[in-house]
């Protein structure tokens, strides 16, 4: 009998493993993305200061200082407002984005010298974000629908246990064929993303570091370093002064708000 019981348990274990395995790599990938999205939901709004350092292959650099405000949207990409503080000539320039998963983002730019808000109508999500190695599609909010997913394996990088997930952009004009993301198993936050260009060649690597947790829930990286392997250029984004639940309203992210953004 004992043997039979044992046998039954073993069989049960085997079946359940098989069931677990029956979950396809695609399903597991989606599950990880969904969990990451769930954990990052509900922050409502945030503000932060961003320093952007552009660096070319020879090491020449330039700096930009931007304040960024974000408003969380349900069932759509977030809205964000960026206000330039430096260089001096572009101080006061403000940039408003409504990001979308599969459609082109909506963008407005306020040029203080022209004293006008201009809407920029383009489908250049794959274009560079403010001249950096980040594309708009890298920096915008990461909606689940932006990609299809495939879980590849588990891997430890930099001492962090990660899921390795392949993501394929659903946006038609994406600059990538695929991305490989290393997602922290414990916190469901990205540690590293590798980007492959339209010919499926290695293009860029994005590394997240100096993570801090806010409101006991939301992880934000203090540093995001993007390296372009093809051109040798890189961009370092340094985030500071994160503040959450500032009580922003939808009207703070409207076209009219741009002119008064300070």
């Amino acid at each position: 009998m004992k043997f039979a019981t044992r046998y039954c348990f073993a069989l049960l274990a085997l079946v359940s493993t098989q069931l677990a395995l029956a979950q396809t790599a695609e399903e597991k990938g989606l599950e990880i993305a969904t969990e990451a999205d769930r954990r990052d939901s509900g922050f409502i709004d945030s503000s932060a200061t961003l320093t952007m350092e552009l660096r070319n292959k020879q090491g020449a650099t330039s700096l930009r200082h931007v304040r960024v405000r974000s408003l969380e949207m349900k069932n759509d990409g977030d809205k964000s407002l960026s206000i330039f503080d430096a260089p001096a000539d572009v101080k006061g320039t403000a940039f408003l984005t409504y990001s979308h998963a599969k459609e082109p983002d909506e963008q407005w730019l306020f040029l203080p010298e022209l004293k006008r808000v201009k809407r920029i109508n383009s489908n250049n999500k794959s274009g560079p974000f403010m001249g950096s190695e980040f594309a708009y599609e890298d920096i915008g909010s990461q909606e689940i629908e932006k990609y299809t997913y495939k879980y590849l394996r588990d891997e430890v990088i930099n001492g962090v246990d990660c899921f390795v997930v392949e993501r394929t952009p659903t946006y038609e004009h994406s600059g990538y064929t695929r991305q490989i993301a290393w997602i922290n198993k414990k916190e469901y936050r990205p540690e590293q993303i590798v980007f492959y260009d339209r010919k499926n060649d290695l293009l860029k690597t994005l590394k997240y570091s100096d993570y801090q947790q806010y409101l006991n829930q939301y992880w934000r990286a203090g540093k995001m370093h993007m390296e372009n392997h093809q051109t040798g250029k890189s961009t370092l984004l340094t985030w500071s002064n994160y503040k959450f639940r500032n009580g922003y309203k939808d009207s703070d992210f409207s076209r009219n708000s741009l002119e008064n953004a300070k």
Binding site: L109, K118, P128, G175, R198, K199, Q230
Partner: protein, 770 residues
Amino acid sequence: MLKSYTEWLLKWKYAVVALSLLTVALLGYGASRLGFTNDYRVFFSADNPQLLAFENLQNTYTKNDNVMFVISPEDGQVFTAQTLEAIRDITEQSWQIPYSIRVDSVTNFQHTRAEGDDLMVADLVTAAESLGTEELMEIRRVALNEPMLINRLISKDSAHAGINVTIQLPGVDQMKETPEVVAHARKLREDMMQKYPGIDIRLVGIAMLNNAFSEASMHDGQTLVPLSFAAIIIVMFLLLRDISSTGAAVLVVLFSIVSAMGITGWLGMRLTPPSASAPIIILTVAIGSTVHLLVTIMQEMYKGMSKHDAIIESMRVNATPIFLCSFTTVLGFLSMNTSDAPPFRDLGNISAFGVIASYIFTVTFLPAIMAILPVKATHHVVGTSPMIKLGHWVVSHRKKILPFFTVMSIVLILMISRNQLNDIFVNYFDESVPFRVDTDFATEHLTGTYSIDYSLDSGAPENVSNPDFLRKVEAFADWYRQQPEVIHVNTITDTFKRLNKNMHGDDPAMYALPENSRLGAQYLLLYEMSLPYGLDLNNQIDVAKQATRLSVTIKTISSSQVLALEERAKAWLHQHAPELKTEGTSPAVMFSHIGMRNIISMIKGTTLAFILISLTMMFALRSVKYGFISLIPNVLPAATAFGIWGMAVGEVGLALSIVTAMTLGIVVDDTIHFISKYMRARHEKDLDNQDAVRYAFRHVGVAMWVTSTVLIAGFLVLSLSAFELNASMGIMNSMIIAIALILDLFLLPPLLMSFDKRSREQAHNEETHI
């Protein structure tokens, strides 16, 4: 000593042959590591100032290595739904070309226009197939009025369009990378020509240029090397009429080439079209020594000597001259190391390896194999009696010959000044190379391969949008656009003007530079934010936003015209914008300076070679006087050849800067042979100077014309090269050697006779003084 060495050699003949084969195999194995360079930059030394300036510019801005598809629809009209669809399709497919980072064409041009307060940024052409006449007209109007496109990606008559693929090679293994790019582009071209039968497609650009260098080298290797071997085999057989000795000579040459190329491989040197011509040069130069050795063996055997004795006698008579000739030839080749262009240093060194190897094999392997092989010497070496007659003629006409040659030489030397420096890298390839034909076509119908780039500095970071600065850049661009040599000017000021217009509701009156720095900087930010994938500001503006690149595309013009244009531009800057003054840079500028730089660098090498070779001559002849006399027939060939070149061609370039040094070591050989025979006649045989000249003609005349003929033939084979540098080097070398032969036969004897006292007594007295 030589006798006992040769006896020893012949005793161990089998071992010597075996050891030779083993050496060749070991050295030759290195040839499997040989590769071809495919980068035009190899023509410039690492410290070449024009290269450094250009690399500095390329490091500051996005590199502009590229492949361009030139699209020519049969109906001569790009703006049709079918052709635009084809261009859109090829543009799309071109993103798949390895190492491409950006594709630009008339279809994906980011057209910006204002719609109220909306700025619309979109591809100029999206769904091409469904375009109606009106839309096509509008696209045409936009394209033909866009300074970024006209004469760059679309021709003025809208009959041709370009698709430009920017390539960023990782540079890990360019040997593989460039061919990968080219192979993909060619496959795409073929596929697309099948898919769109009414459209002709050509490939141009820097990647194609780079690839042409390696293809030209390989092409030469596959066609000219066998051809030169065939020529040598025929000449040797006609001369020697014996299969064994012909075979032995060919083996010596083959071993020398294999050894030299093997060493090159072991040293990890990459072949370039000039250095890839080394096998032909080695073959040509190395055959001389074998001729001397073999001819004496045949002559002695014909006289009735045994083969064994004939070999020993031939070694006794020839070993020293062969050593001296090889030594001077090696000196000449090594002096090419002072060249500013590394491919010619390589050519000099590889050829020197080959000549050293050929010397070694000639005094080891050749006697040994001749001792083994059956040899029949049934006929007298051709040309001996005409040479004797020629000797008589020269002696009796010496009084007329001398002034004739003096006048001729002076006239020809005066003609040297007719040569103009010219290095047009596009024309380095002849019309058998597709790159040349396609580039000529593109330059005539669409846009040029030649360019001059400027990095204009605004003086401070973030200052590039300063209106004062931009106005000067604009004026400079406008000035350039008025120059007849110019096809296209790419400048950031056009972008500023377009944005200003867009920001003011597309009002044509607002197509002007922004009024102040802040507005300019904000436009730039707007522009940056609207750029598509693969493009960033870095194409035209440096990271610090301090400087901007102005790119001028020009027709394929001569070096002096490039330099003159650049000089005019500098003068304009000096007058109108002195704070912007800078050097223009580009491959065209680099190649325009390369001829002069090499001539200057080779003056040192040529002088050094000249001194060393003259000293060798004096030492070899054991006479300062004869050494000095020998200078005349050694120096005159190159000088007069450049005079003839000045009359016939009038253009010299990179390749010709090295021929003087290269041929010096070769032309002295005949002089050494002739003077040493003459001296032997005077001192050993106790003949007077006229008889001594006749003696020299009889004994060395044949060998002189035979070796010279072989050299001329070998270098003429090189003149068939599709690579112009090799071809002109081949022609020039042939000419120099031909002139040297003429001078050695006609001018040297009268010189010897007039400088040398006639009587035997005086000859004896002189000998005791030296």
